[in-house]
Symmetry: C2
Subunit: 272 residues, 2 copies
Protein backbone atom coordinates (compact mmCIF):
# COMPACT_ATOMS: atom_id res chain seq x y z
CA UNK A 1 0.00 0.00 0.00
CA UNK A 2 2.77 2.45 0.87
CA UNK A 3 5.39 0.84 -1.36
CA UNK A 4 5.11 3.42 -4.09
CA UNK A 5 4.83 6.45 -1.80
CA UNK A 6 7.84 8.75 -1.80
CA UNK A 7 8.96 10.81 1.18
CA UNK A 8 10.23 14.40 1.18
CA UNK A 9 13.60 13.19 -0.11
CA UNK A 10 11.92 11.36 -2.99
CA UNK A 11 12.68 7.94 -1.56
CA UNK A 12 10.37 4.94 -1.59
CA UNK A 13 10.10 2.93 1.63
CA UNK A 14 12.47 0.32 0.22
CA UNK A 15 15.05 2.94 -0.69
CA UNK A 16 14.64 4.67 2.66
CA UNK A 17 15.21 1.47 4.64
CA UNK A 18 18.29 0.64 2.56
CA UNK A 19 19.95 3.93 3.47
CA UNK A 20 18.66 4.21 7.06
CA UNK A 21 21.40 4.73 9.61
CA UNK A 22 20.37 3.50 13.04
CA UNK A 23 23.26 5.28 14.72
CA UNK A 24 21.46 8.61 15.03
CA UNK A 25 20.33 8.13 18.62
CA UNK A 26 22.22 6.82 21.63
CA UNK A 27 20.86 3.42 22.58
CA UNK A 28 20.47 1.91 26.02
CA UNK A 29 21.23 -1.69 26.84
CA UNK A 30 18.09 -3.64 27.65
CA UNK A 31 17.93 -6.52 30.09
CA UNK A 32 15.18 -8.64 31.57
CA UNK A 33 15.04 -9.46 35.29
CA UNK A 34 12.78 -12.10 36.78
CA UNK A 35 11.12 -12.51 40.13
CA UNK A 36 10.96 -16.31 40.19
CA UNK A 37 8.74 -17.62 42.99
CA UNK A 38 7.94 -21.17 43.95
CA UNK A 39 6.31 -22.92 46.91
CA UNK A 40 8.41 -24.91 49.38
CA UNK A 41 7.92 -28.66 49.06
CA UNK A 42 5.76 -28.77 52.19
CA UNK A 43 3.88 -25.58 51.19
CA UNK A 44 5.06 -23.92 54.39
CA UNK A 45 6.21 -20.82 52.54
CA UNK A 46 7.48 -19.26 49.35
CA UNK A 47 10.99 -19.28 47.95
CA UNK A 48 12.65 -16.85 45.62
CA UNK A 49 15.57 -17.59 43.32
CA UNK A 50 18.58 -15.29 43.49
CA UNK A 51 21.91 -15.24 41.69
CA UNK A 52 25.16 -14.21 43.34
CA UNK A 53 26.94 -11.62 41.27
CA UNK A 54 30.46 -12.64 40.25
CA UNK A 55 31.58 -9.26 38.90
CA UNK A 56 31.31 -5.53 39.44
CA UNK A 57 29.11 -3.72 40.13
CA UNK A 58 27.46 -5.16 43.26
CA UNK A 59 30.18 -7.84 43.36
CA UNK A 60 29.11 -10.68 45.69
CA UNK A 61 25.63 -9.19 46.07
CA UNK A 62 22.56 -11.33 45.46
CA UNK A 63 20.40 -10.31 42.52
CA UNK A 64 17.35 -11.41 40.57
CA UNK A 65 18.18 -13.69 37.65
CA UNK A 66 18.24 -11.91 34.34
CA UNK A 67 20.29 -10.98 31.33
CA UNK A 68 20.55 -9.06 28.12
CA UNK A 69 17.86 -9.22 25.46
CA UNK A 70 19.33 -10.62 22.26
CA UNK A 71 18.76 -8.82 18.94
CA UNK A 72 16.47 -11.49 17.53
CA UNK A 73 14.14 -12.15 20.46
CA UNK A 74 11.34 -10.43 22.34
CA UNK A 75 11.74 -9.58 26.01
CA UNK A 76 9.37 -12.45 26.79
CA UNK A 77 11.57 -14.88 24.89
CA UNK A 78 14.66 -13.48 26.58
CA UNK A 79 13.10 -13.99 30.00
CA UNK A 80 12.18 -17.55 29.10
CA UNK A 81 15.67 -18.28 27.79
CA UNK A 82 17.44 -16.76 30.78
CA UNK A 83 15.29 -18.76 33.16
CA UNK A 84 16.20 -21.95 31.36
CA UNK A 85 19.89 -21.08 31.11
CA UNK A 86 20.40 -19.74 34.61
CA UNK A 87 18.04 -21.91 36.60
CA UNK A 88 16.91 -24.84 34.44
CA UNK A 89 13.30 -23.87 35.12
CA UNK A 90 10.87 -24.64 32.29
CA UNK A 91 7.07 -24.62 31.98
CA UNK A 92 6.76 -21.49 34.02
CA UNK A 93 4.08 -18.81 34.17
CA UNK A 94 5.71 -15.63 32.90
CA UNK A 95 4.25 -12.15 32.80
CA UNK A 96 5.68 -8.70 32.20
CA UNK A 97 5.55 -6.41 35.21
CA UNK A 98 7.21 -3.06 34.60
CA UNK A 99 10.10 -1.42 32.79
CA UNK A 100 12.71 0.29 34.96
CA UNK A 101 14.65 3.05 33.29
CA UNK A 102 16.43 5.36 35.74
CA UNK A 103 19.53 6.47 33.79
CA UNK A 104 21.84 5.65 36.72
CA UNK A 105 20.26 2.39 37.88
CA UNK A 106 23.33 0.55 36.55
CA UNK A 107 26.66 2.31 37.12
CA UNK A 108 28.28 0.66 34.08
CA UNK A 109 26.19 2.23 31.38
CA UNK A 110 22.59 3.00 30.51
CA UNK A 111 20.68 -0.21 31.16
CA UNK A 112 16.91 -0.46 31.11
CA UNK A 113 15.35 -3.51 32.62
CA UNK A 114 12.05 -5.08 31.68
CA UNK A 115 10.89 -6.91 34.80
CA UNK A 116 8.96 -10.17 34.69
CA UNK A 117 7.33 -12.27 37.32
CA UNK A 118 7.68 -16.03 37.00
CA UNK A 119 5.66 -18.52 39.01
CA UNK A 120 6.56 -22.18 39.15
CA UNK A 121 5.12 -25.19 40.93
CA UNK A 122 8.44 -26.83 41.70
CA UNK A 123 11.55 -25.63 43.46
CA UNK A 124 14.08 -27.29 41.19
CA UNK A 125 17.62 -27.68 42.51
CA UNK A 126 19.87 -25.03 40.99
CA UNK A 127 23.41 -25.75 39.95
CA UNK A 128 26.21 -23.36 40.68
CA UNK A 129 26.07 -22.59 36.97
CA UNK A 130 28.76 -21.46 34.60
CA UNK A 131 31.33 -18.69 35.00
CA UNK A 132 31.36 -18.47 38.80
CA UNK A 133 27.61 -17.98 38.83
CA UNK A 134 26.06 -19.09 42.08
CA UNK A 135 22.30 -19.54 42.33
CA UNK A 136 20.17 -20.42 45.35
CA UNK A 137 16.59 -20.50 46.57
CA UNK A 138 15.82 -18.21 49.51
CA UNK A 139 12.93 -18.18 51.92
CA UNK A 140 10.70 -15.29 50.95
CA UNK A 141 8.35 -13.47 53.29
CA UNK A 142 6.40 -10.44 52.15
CA UNK A 143 4.17 -9.09 54.84
CA UNK A 144 3.39 -6.55 57.51
CA UNK A 145 5.38 -3.88 55.76
CA UNK A 146 8.43 -6.10 55.40
CA UNK A 147 10.35 -7.99 52.74
CA UNK A 148 12.39 -10.77 54.28
CA UNK A 149 14.72 -12.88 52.15
CA UNK A 150 16.95 -15.41 53.88
CA UNK A 151 18.76 -18.71 53.54
CA UNK A 152 20.15 -20.16 56.74
CA UNK A 153 22.31 -22.74 54.96
CA UNK A 154 24.46 -20.06 53.37
CA UNK A 155 23.96 -17.55 56.17
CA UNK A 156 22.34 -14.76 54.18
CA UNK A 157 19.66 -12.45 55.56
CA UNK A 158 18.22 -9.51 53.64
CA UNK A 159 15.43 -7.39 55.03
CA UNK A 160 13.63 -4.26 53.85
CA UNK A 161 11.00 -2.25 55.66
CA UNK A 162 8.14 -1.02 53.47
CA UNK A 163 6.43 2.25 54.23
CA UNK A 164 3.48 3.69 52.37
CA UNK A 165 4.01 7.08 50.81
CA UNK A 166 1.63 9.18 48.74
CA UNK A 167 2.66 10.49 45.32
CA UNK A 168 0.99 12.73 42.77
CA UNK A 169 0.19 11.92 39.16
CA UNK A 170 -1.39 14.85 37.36
CA UNK A 171 -3.69 16.19 40.06
CA UNK A 172 -4.63 12.86 41.61
CA UNK A 173 -2.77 11.15 44.45
CA UNK A 174 -1.92 7.49 44.84
CA UNK A 175 -0.10 5.45 47.51
CA UNK A 176 3.11 3.53 46.88
CA UNK A 177 5.51 1.40 48.91
CA UNK A 178 9.02 2.69 49.64
CA UNK A 179 11.70 0.24 50.83
CA UNK A 180 14.32 0.91 53.52
CA UNK A 181 17.19 -1.52 53.95
CA UNK A 182 17.29 -3.04 57.45
CA UNK A 183 20.25 -5.44 57.16
CA UNK A 184 23.92 -5.16 56.22
CA UNK A 185 23.32 -7.28 53.12
CA UNK A 186 21.25 -5.83 50.31
CA UNK A 187 19.90 -6.79 46.90
CA UNK A 188 21.80 -5.61 43.83
CA UNK A 189 20.67 -2.66 41.72
CA UNK A 190 17.01 -1.62 42.12
CA UNK A 191 15.88 -5.22 42.43
CA UNK A 192 13.88 -4.56 45.62
CA UNK A 193 11.66 -2.27 43.60
CA UNK A 194 11.15 -4.99 41.03
CA UNK A 195 10.03 -7.32 43.82
CA UNK A 196 7.63 -4.69 45.17
CA UNK A 197 6.07 -4.05 41.77
CA UNK A 198 5.77 -7.75 41.02
CA UNK A 199 4.13 -8.55 44.36
CA UNK A 200 1.70 -5.68 43.90
CA UNK A 201 0.75 -7.12 40.53
CA UNK A 202 0.47 -10.68 41.83
CA UNK A 203 -1.87 -9.72 44.66
CA UNK A 204 -4.03 -7.65 42.33
CA UNK A 205 -4.25 -10.32 39.66
CA UNK A 206 -5.18 -13.06 42.11
CA UNK A 207 -8.61 -11.45 42.28
CA UNK A 208 -9.48 -11.90 38.64
CA UNK A 209 -7.10 -14.46 37.12
CA UNK A 210 -6.08 -18.08 37.62
CA UNK A 211 -2.50 -17.10 38.42
CA UNK A 212 -2.16 -19.14 41.68
CA UNK A 213 -2.85 -22.34 39.73
CA UNK A 214 0.58 -22.00 38.15
CA UNK A 215 2.06 -22.83 41.56
CA UNK A 216 -0.02 -26.00 41.87
CA UNK A 217 0.47 -29.29 40.05
CA UNK A 218 -1.85 -30.04 37.14
CA UNK A 219 -3.84 -32.31 39.48
CA UNK A 220 -4.25 -30.76 42.91
CA UNK A 221 -6.37 -31.02 46.03
CA UNK A 222 -8.37 -28.07 47.28
CA UNK A 223 -6.59 -27.96 50.66
CA UNK A 224 -3.27 -27.55 48.82
CA UNK A 225 -4.64 -24.97 46.39
CA UNK A 226 -6.01 -22.96 49.30
CA UNK A 227 -2.61 -22.88 50.98
CA UNK A 228 -1.04 -21.59 47.75
CA UNK A 229 -3.62 -18.80 47.63
CA UNK A 230 -2.83 -17.97 51.24
CA UNK A 231 0.91 -17.87 50.58
CA UNK A 232 0.51 -15.45 47.70
CA UNK A 233 -2.06 -13.28 49.45
CA UNK A 234 -0.21 -13.24 52.76
CA UNK A 235 -3.24 -14.08 54.89
CA UNK A 236 -5.54 -16.97 55.82
CA UNK A 237 -8.79 -17.77 54.04
CA UNK A 238 -11.92 -19.50 55.26
CA UNK A 239 -12.24 -22.95 53.75
CA UNK A 240 -15.94 -22.77 52.92
CA UNK A 241 -15.65 -19.34 51.31
CA UNK A 242 -12.58 -20.34 49.35
CA UNK A 243 -14.33 -23.35 47.89
CA UNK A 244 -17.35 -21.35 46.84
CA UNK A 245 -15.04 -18.79 45.24
CA UNK A 246 -13.22 -21.27 43.00
CA UNK A 247 -16.05 -23.78 42.56
CA UNK A 248 -16.83 -22.93 38.95
CA UNK A 249 -13.21 -22.75 37.86
CA UNK A 250 -12.15 -26.27 38.86
CA UNK A 251 -13.29 -29.73 37.86
CA UNK A 252 -13.29 -32.76 40.20
CA UNK A 253 -11.64 -35.84 38.72
CA UNK A 254 -13.64 -38.34 40.80
CA UNK A 255 -10.31 -39.56 42.05
CA UNK A 256 -8.60 -39.10 45.39
CA UNK A 257 -5.02 -38.18 46.13
CA UNK A 258 -2.83 -37.23 49.05
CA UNK A 259 -2.61 -33.56 49.88
CA UNK A 260 0.84 -32.10 50.49
CA UNK A 261 -0.44 -30.61 53.71
CA UNK A 262 -2.74 -32.70 55.93
CA UNK A 263 -2.70 -36.47 56.19
CA UNK A 264 -6.07 -37.48 54.82
CA UNK A 265 -6.90 -38.29 51.21
CA UNK A 266 -8.73 -35.59 49.34
CA UNK A 267 -10.54 -35.16 46.02
CA UNK A 268 -8.27 -34.29 43.10
CA UNK A 269 -9.16 -31.41 40.78
CA UNK A 270 -7.90 -29.84 37.58
CA UNK A 271 -8.25 -26.27 36.36
CA UNK A 272 -11.06 -25.94 33.82
Amino acid sequence: MTQTLKDKNGLTEEEFLAQYDPGDYPRPSVTVDMLLLGPKKDLSGLRILLIKRGGHPFLNCWALPGGFVHPDETCYEAAKRELREETGVKDVYLEQVYTFSKPDRDPRTRVMSVAYMALTNKIVPVRGGDDALEAAWFDFEYDDGMIHIFNEDIGVDIQYELTTKRFKNGHIKYPNLVPTLKTKTMLAFDHVEIIIEAMKKIRKEIEYTDLPFSMADVKFTLPDLQVIYELLLGHKLYKANFRIMIADRVEPLGEKGKSIIGRRMSELYILK
Copy 2:
Protein backbone atom coordinates in the same frame (compact mmCIF):
# COMPACT_ATOMS: atom_id res chain seq x y z
CA MET B 1 30.80 -1.28 51.26
CA THR B 2 31.97 -2.84 48.01
CA GLN B 3 34.54 -0.19 47.17
CA THR B 4 37.49 -2.26 48.29
CA LEU B 5 36.31 -5.60 46.88
CA LYS B 6 38.27 -6.89 43.93
CA ASP B 7 36.82 -9.04 41.16
CA LYS B 8 38.40 -12.04 39.44
CA ASN B 9 40.62 -9.72 37.41
CA GLY B 10 41.84 -7.99 40.56
CA LEU B 11 39.93 -4.80 39.82
CA THR B 12 38.09 -2.63 42.34
CA GLU B 13 34.65 -1.38 41.33
CA GLU B 14 36.14 2.01 40.46
CA GLU B 15 38.79 0.45 38.25
CA PHE B 16 36.25 -1.86 36.65
CA LEU B 17 33.90 0.97 35.75
CA ALA B 18 36.75 2.99 34.29
CA GLN B 19 37.63 0.22 31.83
CA TYR B 20 34.08 -1.02 31.14
CA ASP B 21 33.23 -1.14 27.45
CA PRO B 22 29.50 -0.87 26.84
CA GLY B 23 29.83 -2.02 23.22
CA ASP B 24 29.79 -5.71 24.05
CA TYR B 25 26.10 -6.24 23.35
CA PRO B 26 23.92 -5.04 20.48
CA ARG B 27 21.53 -2.41 21.76
CA PRO B 28 17.98 -1.67 20.66
CA SER B 29 16.60 1.81 20.23
CA VAL B 30 13.99 2.61 22.86
CA THR B 31 11.00 4.86 22.30
CA VAL B 32 7.94 5.81 24.28
CA ASP B 33 4.46 5.90 22.73
CA MET B 34 1.46 7.50 24.38
CA LEU B 35 -2.24 6.82 24.23
CA LEU B 36 -3.46 10.35 25.00
CA LEU B 37 -7.18 10.47 25.76
CA GLY B 38 -9.37 13.43 26.59
CA PRO B 39 -13.10 14.10 26.83
CA LYS B 40 -14.88 16.14 24.15
CA LYS B 41 -15.91 19.58 25.38
CA ASP B 42 -19.55 18.52 25.73
CA LEU B 43 -18.57 15.16 27.28
CA SER B 44 -20.34 13.37 24.44
CA GLY B 45 -17.37 11.10 23.82
CA LEU B 46 -13.62 10.56 24.03
CA ARG B 47 -10.94 11.82 21.72
CA ILE B 48 -7.51 10.40 21.01
CA LEU B 49 -4.53 12.34 19.75
CA LEU B 50 -2.71 11.02 16.69
CA ILE B 51 0.27 12.23 14.70
CA LYS B 52 0.54 11.91 10.94
CA ARG B 53 3.85 10.34 9.98
CA GLY B 54 5.93 12.51 7.65
CA GLY B 55 8.55 9.88 6.78
CA HIS B 56 9.06 6.20 6.13
CA PRO B 57 8.03 3.74 7.35
CA PHE B 58 4.25 4.09 7.47
CA LEU B 59 4.55 7.37 5.57
CA ASN B 60 1.25 9.32 5.83
CA CYS B 61 -0.13 6.86 8.36
CA TRP B 62 -1.54 8.07 11.65
CA ALA B 63 0.34 7.00 14.76
CA LEU B 64 0.38 7.50 18.50
CA PRO B 65 2.57 10.39 19.61
CA GLY B 66 5.95 9.31 20.88
CA GLY B 67 9.67 9.53 20.44
CA PHE B 68 13.07 8.34 21.46
CA VAL B 69 14.15 8.18 25.08
CA HIS B 70 17.12 10.48 25.64
CA PRO B 71 20.22 9.18 27.43
CA ASP B 72 19.68 11.29 30.54
CA GLU B 73 15.99 10.73 31.22
CA THR B 74 13.66 7.98 32.40
CA CYS B 75 10.95 6.67 30.11
CA TYR B 76 8.42 8.55 32.24
CA GLU B 77 10.30 11.81 31.71
CA ALA B 78 10.61 11.10 28.00
CA ALA B 79 6.86 10.54 27.74
CA LYS B 80 6.21 13.79 29.59
CA ARG B 81 8.63 15.69 27.36
CA GLU B 82 7.27 14.27 24.13
CA LEU B 83 3.73 15.11 25.14
CA ARG B 84 4.75 18.69 25.80
CA GLU B 85 6.80 18.98 22.61
CA GLU B 86 4.41 17.26 20.24
CA THR B 87 1.06 18.29 21.66
CA GLY B 88 1.58 21.08 24.18
CA VAL B 89 -0.28 19.03 26.78
CA LYS B 90 0.87 19.53 30.37
CA ASP B 91 -0.49 18.47 33.75
CA VAL B 92 -1.46 15.10 32.50
CA TYR B 93 -2.00 11.78 34.24
CA LEU B 94 0.71 9.47 32.93
CA GLU B 95 1.18 5.79 33.63
CA GLN B 96 3.29 3.05 32.12
CA VAL B 97 1.31 0.34 30.37
CA TYR B 98 3.51 -2.25 28.68
CA THR B 99 6.78 -2.65 26.81
CA PHE B 100 6.53 -3.89 23.23
CA SER B 101 9.59 -5.65 21.91
CA LYS B 102 8.94 -7.74 18.80
CA PRO B 103 12.25 -7.57 16.90
CA ASP B 104 10.53 -6.64 13.62
CA ARG B 105 7.92 -4.21 14.97
CA ASP B 106 9.84 -1.36 13.32
CA PRO B 107 11.31 -2.15 9.88
CA ARG B 108 14.11 0.40 10.27
CA THR B 109 15.97 -1.24 13.11
CA ARG B 110 15.38 -2.86 16.47
CA VAL B 111 13.08 -0.48 18.36
CA MET B 112 11.44 -1.31 21.64
CA SER B 113 8.58 0.86 22.77
CA VAL B 114 7.52 1.55 26.31
CA ALA B 115 3.82 2.40 26.09
CA TYR B 116 2.14 4.95 28.34
CA MET B 117 -1.40 6.01 28.82
CA ALA B 118 -2.06 9.70 29.32
CA LEU B 119 -5.36 11.13 30.49
CA THR B 120 -6.14 14.81 30.27
CA ASN B 121 -9.15 16.94 31.13
CA LYS B 122 -8.85 19.29 28.20
CA ILE B 123 -8.68 18.75 24.48
CA VAL B 124 -6.12 21.44 23.69
CA PRO B 125 -5.85 22.59 20.09
CA VAL B 126 -2.80 21.03 18.44
CA ARG B 127 -0.61 22.90 16.05
CA GLY B 128 0.64 21.37 12.85
CA GLY B 129 3.98 21.22 14.63
CA ASP B 130 7.53 21.36 13.30
CA ASP B 131 9.04 19.41 10.39
CA ALA B 132 5.83 18.59 8.53
CA LEU B 133 4.38 17.01 11.66
CA GLU B 134 0.60 17.01 11.61
CA ALA B 135 -1.34 16.29 14.79
CA ALA B 136 -5.09 15.99 15.30
CA TRP B 137 -7.69 14.80 17.77
CA PHE B 138 -9.88 11.93 16.62
CA ASP B 139 -13.19 10.67 17.93
CA PHE B 140 -12.48 7.46 19.80
CA GLU B 141 -14.98 4.67 20.38
CA TYR B 142 -13.96 1.45 22.06
CA ASP B 143 -16.85 -0.92 22.45
CA ASP B 144 -18.74 -4.00 21.40
CA GLY B 145 -15.61 -5.64 20.09
CA MET B 146 -14.64 -2.61 18.02
CA ILE B 147 -12.07 0.17 18.00
CA HIS B 148 -13.31 3.12 15.97
CA ILE B 149 -11.10 6.14 15.36
CA PHE B 150 -12.34 8.85 13.03
CA ASN B 151 -12.21 12.53 12.20
CA GLU B 152 -14.78 13.76 9.71
CA ASP B 153 -13.05 17.13 9.18
CA ILE B 154 -10.01 15.48 7.65
CA GLY B 155 -11.92 12.47 6.31
CA VAL B 156 -10.10 9.73 8.18
CA ASP B 157 -11.76 6.55 9.39
CA ILE B 158 -9.89 3.70 11.07
CA GLN B 159 -11.67 0.67 12.43
CA TYR B 160 -10.55 -2.60 14.00
CA GLU B 161 -12.65 -5.54 15.03
CA LEU B 162 -11.65 -7.14 18.32
CA THR B 163 -12.10 -10.85 18.87
CA THR B 164 -11.37 -12.72 22.06
CA LYS B 165 -8.84 -15.50 21.80
CA ARG B 166 -7.52 -17.80 24.50
CA PHE B 167 -3.77 -18.16 25.06
CA LYS B 168 -1.67 -20.33 27.34
CA ASN B 169 0.85 -19.17 29.91
CA GLY B 170 2.55 -22.06 31.65
CA HIS B 171 -0.37 -24.44 32.07
CA ILE B 172 -3.06 -21.84 32.69
CA LYS B 173 -5.17 -20.19 30.01
CA TYR B 174 -6.18 -16.56 29.70
CA PRO B 175 -8.26 -14.55 27.21
CA ASN B 176 -6.88 -11.74 25.08
CA LEU B 177 -8.18 -9.39 22.39
CA VAL B 178 -6.93 -9.73 18.83
CA PRO B 179 -7.50 -6.85 16.36
CA THR B 180 -8.48 -7.20 12.71
CA LEU B 181 -8.31 -4.16 10.44
CA LYS B 182 -11.70 -3.30 8.90
CA THR B 183 -10.85 -0.16 6.93
CA LYS B 184 -8.40 0.79 4.20
CA THR B 185 -6.62 3.16 6.58
CA MET B 186 -4.67 1.69 9.47
CA LEU B 187 -2.62 2.79 12.45
CA ALA B 188 1.16 2.76 12.12
CA PHE B 189 3.34 0.01 13.62
CA ASP B 190 1.73 -2.08 16.36
CA HIS B 191 -0.08 0.92 17.80
CA VAL B 192 -3.48 -0.82 17.85
CA GLU B 193 -2.04 -3.26 20.34
CA ILE B 194 -0.85 -0.39 22.50
CA ILE B 195 -4.38 0.99 22.51
CA ILE B 196 -5.82 -2.41 23.44
CA GLU B 197 -3.40 -2.88 26.32
CA ALA B 198 -3.95 0.66 27.58
CA MET B 199 -7.74 0.37 27.51
CA LYS B 200 -7.56 -2.95 29.32
CA LYS B 201 -5.49 -1.28 32.02
CA ILE B 202 -7.76 1.77 32.24
CA ARG B 203 -10.92 -0.29 32.69
CA LYS B 204 -9.24 -2.45 35.31
CA GLU B 205 -7.82 0.47 37.26
CA ILE B 206 -11.10 2.35 37.36
CA GLU B 207 -12.27 -0.18 39.92
CA TYR B 208 -9.64 0.63 42.51
CA THR B 209 -8.05 3.99 41.65
CA ASP B 210 -9.08 7.61 41.15
CA LEU B 211 -7.95 7.57 37.52
CA PRO B 212 -11.17 9.02 35.99
CA PHE B 213 -10.73 12.19 38.07
CA SER B 214 -7.80 13.11 35.83
CA MET B 215 -10.32 13.73 33.06
CA ALA B 216 -12.38 16.08 35.23
CA ASP B 217 -11.55 19.62 36.24
CA VAL B 218 -10.27 20.17 39.77
CA LYS B 219 -13.76 21.34 40.71
CA PHE B 220 -16.43 19.17 39.15
CA THR B 221 -20.09 18.29 39.50
CA LEU B 222 -21.19 14.72 40.11
CA PRO B 223 -23.29 14.51 36.92
CA ASP B 224 -20.17 15.40 34.91
CA LEU B 225 -17.95 13.00 36.82
CA GLN B 226 -20.44 10.22 36.24
CA VAL B 227 -20.41 10.81 32.50
CA ILE B 228 -16.60 10.59 32.50
CA TYR B 229 -16.79 7.26 34.30
CA GLU B 230 -19.31 6.07 31.74
CA LEU B 231 -17.14 7.15 28.81
CA LEU B 232 -14.14 5.27 30.16
CA LEU B 233 -16.10 2.17 31.14
CA GLY B 234 -18.12 2.08 27.95
CA HIS B 235 -21.48 1.63 29.65
CA LYS B 236 -24.09 3.55 31.68
CA LEU B 237 -24.18 3.69 35.46
CA TYR B 238 -27.06 4.20 37.85
CA LYS B 239 -26.91 7.63 39.44
CA ALA B 240 -27.71 6.59 42.98
CA ASN B 241 -25.23 3.72 42.95
CA PHE B 242 -22.54 5.86 41.42
CA ARG B 243 -22.91 8.49 44.14
CA ILE B 244 -22.71 5.92 46.91
CA MET B 245 -19.62 4.43 45.28
CA ILE B 246 -17.63 7.68 45.20
CA ALA B 247 -19.20 9.33 48.27
CA ASP B 248 -16.19 8.92 50.55
CA ARG B 249 -13.66 9.96 47.93
CA VAL B 250 -15.07 13.40 47.15
CA GLU B 251 -15.69 16.53 49.17
CA PRO B 252 -18.54 18.98 48.56
CA LEU B 253 -17.45 22.60 48.37
CA GLY B 254 -20.80 24.07 49.49
CA GLU B 255 -20.81 25.94 46.22
CA LYS B 256 -22.79 25.42 43.04
CA GLY B 257 -21.62 25.44 39.45
CA LYS B 258 -22.92 24.60 36.02
CA SER B 259 -22.48 21.08 34.82
CA ILE B 260 -21.12 20.55 31.32
CA ILE B 261 -24.00 18.22 30.59
CA GLY B 262 -27.45 19.19 31.82
CA ARG B 263 -28.68 22.75 32.26
CA ARG B 264 -29.27 23.01 35.99
CA MET B 265 -26.78 24.14 38.61
CA SER B 266 -25.21 21.39 40.66
CA GLU B 267 -23.07 21.04 43.75
CA LEU B 268 -19.32 21.34 43.11
CA TYR B 269 -16.91 18.76 44.51
CA ILE B 270 -13.18 18.19 44.71
CA LEU B 271 -11.27 14.94 45.00
CA LYS B 272 -10.22 14.28 48.59
